[in-house]
């Protein structure tokens, strides 16, 4: 794991004192509310519906037990005893007081964490594959690059006042778990024909009110050229992105209006200059970062398979948990455990301070002191020995953290919605809660199989509904909540934007409507192995639309 050096420590402390002074200068009138706003945003502080909200970065989703315990401490000292893991590998505290925020930032700095650029019109927290360094299918660990980008983008003087926010995601595996095609810049680690490592660069993906899949502007960018190339993209965007309408200000609109070809040419032209002005990052500094992400010293003693099988056979709940929440590790003796933050009837992504401590303890005892936060709002133990799985399961179950639903219907992504967010037009969390309650029977969920339901409470699409196999978008129709369904979205390497199914459903009608989609899928799938999204791709939208709307008279 990356550990701060002297420079990082000083930088973060200096930043906290800058922000402390900014809060004071807001109070003494030196800064107007308008001027203070972008400054607090670039330090992660939002003004929400009921209170301030502090969004803390968990760069590329990686943290250790000490950091997780500190997040628990913040939750207890300055919030109501819990935190909310988000779709961008951040954690949000929904009830801090403005005067306490500098102290919260100092407490974060104590454990090498910060809230820098988690909001505002700047380069946001860089996200990465949550299985990085552990997945069996990985070409290369993307986190050294993500850390390099974190440093490069932090307080970048040219790019703090962009037309709009800017999100970068990176994956080192062919199976895209980081939704790179739905980011302003997506980086996919690839090798060219001579085996040299580099990146495929995608630009202009995004969700929000105008969902778009990123376009490839470079098939292969050598590793050493990454920073000057990103300087070029950002400069072209900063100068040419629209500033007349905030809903048309993201780079995806610039790509769309300029055309991929012309924009690529503009980027390449800017890149020629940036290459002259910037040296490649010094190799020894890059290596120093890479070294910090070296895999832990895995305990590779043989697993007693016979014993493990007999334990699993004796405990159907454990078996069920392993089937859904455990993934293949690059070491055969190990496994990746996903801890679901989606209990039946719960708020997706919420964790209590106590639960955070349980997970921290597990990481320390069994997981080489590593944890990850996924964009799917779950927590991951990326490296555990397979023979420790039964004990880990027992601890999780006692803490109410053993929901065996990862990848299934109730593993729902939902934005905070109208319960917290000032922008929301409808509730999201209660819809997720009702869905998970309606499909409480885990046998039924397993029978339905892999399914991604994603819920957003407004067209800004923080719940990623466009890339949900079933997407739900909550709108406000003349003061009444109305939920629109999209079908066939996909956030993986096969990225697709879901298609709108038709007119929306009321708050009371939305859960039964999803039920009708599921019933139709179960009727028409060819085998029990054909997943929902596979069936959808085979039969198309019409059969599902018919299921949704043919009973309309009954519903009315």
């Amino acid at each position: 794991m990356y550990q701060y050096d002297q420079f990082d420590h000083e930088f973060v402390r200096n930043r906290v004192s800058q922000f402390r002074a900014q809060v004071e200068r807001r109070l003494d009138g030196s800064l107007t509310e308008d001027e203070f706003k972008p400054l607090r945003l670039m330090n992660g502080l939002y003004l929400q519906l009921h209170a301030y909200m502090l969004r803390v970065a968990i760069p590329y989703g990686t943290l250790n037990s000490r950091q997780m315990r500190q997040l628990a401490y913040l939750a207890e000292k300055w919030d109501k005893g819990y935190g909310h893991f988000t779709t961008r590998q951040n954690i949000q505290y929904n009830w801090p007081k403005l005067k306490d925020v500098p102290d919260m930032l100092d407490a974060l700095a104590d454990v090498e964490m910060h809230a820098i650029q988690t909001s505002g019109n700047c380069i946001r927290n860089v996200t990465a594959d949550h299985f990085a360094g552990a997945a069996a299918d990985e070409i290369e660990d993307p986190r050294p690059t993500a850390e390099l980008l974190r440093q490069w983008s932090t307080d970048h003087p040219e790019f703090q006042f962009l037309p709009r926010k800017f999100k970068i995601a990176i994956t080192g595996a062919p199976n895209d778990r980081a939704v790179t095609k739905a980011h302003d810049i997506g980086l996919r680690m690839v090798r060219n024909e001579t085996g040299e490592p580099g990146y495929e660069v995608l630009v202009g993906g995004g969700l929000g009110r105008t969902p778009m899949i990123g376009k490839t502007v470079r098939e292969f960018l050598p590793k050493a050229d990454l920073l000057p190339y990103l300087e070029a993209i950002l400069q072209v965007y900063n100068l040419n992105g629209r500033r007349d309408n905030k809903y048309k200000a993201r780079i995806k609109i610039l790509v769309h209006e300029t055309g991929t070809e012309e924009l690529t040419a503009m980027i390449e032209e800017a890149f020629e200059t940036q290459k002259l002005w910037h040296q490649a990052p010094p190799a020894e500094m890059v290596e120093a970062i890479e070294k910090q992400f070296a895999p832990p010293q895995f305990d590779l003693r043989k697993v007693d398979e016979e014993n493990l099988v007999s334990i699993i056979d004796a405990d159907p709940l454990l078996r069920s948990f392993i089937e859904t929440n455990v993934h293949e590790h690059r070491e055969q003796t190990h496994a990746i455990v996903t801890i679901s933050m989606k209990p039946v009837g719960g708020t997706p992504g919420d964790a209590t301070a106590e639960q955070m401590r349980v997970m921290a303890n597990l990481a320390e005892a069994y997981g080489y002191d590593e944890l990850r936060i996924s964009h799917e709002q779950n927590v991951i133990l990326p490296h555990v020995r397979r023979d420790d799985l039964p004990e880990i399961f027992n601890v999780l179950r006692d803490a109410g953290l053993a929901t065996a639903n990862v990848g299934l219907l109730s593993d729902i992504i939902a934005c905070p919605g109208m319960d917290y967010c000032a922008l929301a037009t409808a509730r999201s969390i209660p819809v997720a809660q009702q869905l998970s309650s309606a499909f409480e029977d885990m046998k039924q969920q397993k029978n339905i199989g892999p399914l991604k339901i994603k819920i957003s409470g407004c067209i800004n699409a923080c719940g990623h509904h466009h890339v949900g196999h079933i997407g739900i978008l909550g709108l406000d129709k003349a003061g009444v909540e109305s939920y629109q369904i999209t079908l066939g979205g996909d956030g993986s390497e096969l990225a697709a934007i879901g298609e709108r199914a038709g007119p929306g459903f009321s708050y009371e009608e939305i859960v039964p409507a999803v039920g009708r989609i599921i019933d139709r899928y179960l009727e028409v799938r060819e085998t029990t192995d054909e997943t929902f999204i596979e069936t959808y791709r085979r039969v198309g939208a019409d059969l599902f639309k018919e299921a949704l709307y043919s009973d309309e008279r009954v519903a009315a």
């Binding site: 000083e10 900014q22 009138g29 030196s30 970048h156 003087p157 040219e158 002005w277």
Partner: protein, 152 residues
């Protein structure tokens, strides 16, 4: 009247007193009168394409880039472009920038910022000087070994 903010602190704007002129880029391009670069400052809007400035850069000893709003960051990129393409004269930002942006402006190649008295009163000198950029705390300096963009 305006206040000029530099690393040395607040100063009076002496440009016009010393015979300097401010000329809009558009007017400058149309003008047939020969001017001496020493007392010419061209006002270059922040949406100007660099390619349209070829030939202008040698004709002025100062270029002024407006910030219509502190949230509009185009001026930062334009300043950097000018420096990277060889402009060696004085570079001034004018308009609504706040003290917290002083370091960003300097790091992008500006030499000074022109603000009005109201802003100077609300954000006194020490708030600007507190934001003089520090190389020892710049990740960009650390990673890109950025060449010095400022000349004065």
């Amino acid at each position: 009247m305006s206040v000029i903010v530099r690393n040395s602190g607040f100063e009076k704007d002496t440009w016009e007193m010393e015979g300097g002129l401010f000329i809009d880029l558009e007017k400058f391009a149309q003008d047939v009168v020969e001017r001496s670069p020493e007392n010419t400052c061209i006002d270059v809007p922040n949406d100007t394409n660099l390619n349209s400035l070829k030939g202008v850069l040698e004709s002025a000893s100062m270029i002024r880039i407006p910030f219509p709003s502190f949230a509009d960051g185009r001026g930062f990129s334009l300043a950097k472009q000018l420096r990277q393409h060889g402009y060696k004269g004085r570079l001034r930002a004018v308009g609504h920038l706040i003290a917290d942006q002083y370091g960003f402006a300097m790091s992008c190649g500006f030499d000074e910022i022109e603000i009005d008295f109201t802003l100077a009163g609300r954000q006194p000198e020490e708030q600007w000087l507190a934001r003089i950029p520090r190389e020892d705390l710049s990740y960009q300096h650390r990673w890109l070994g950025e060449r010095k963009l400022r000349n004065i």
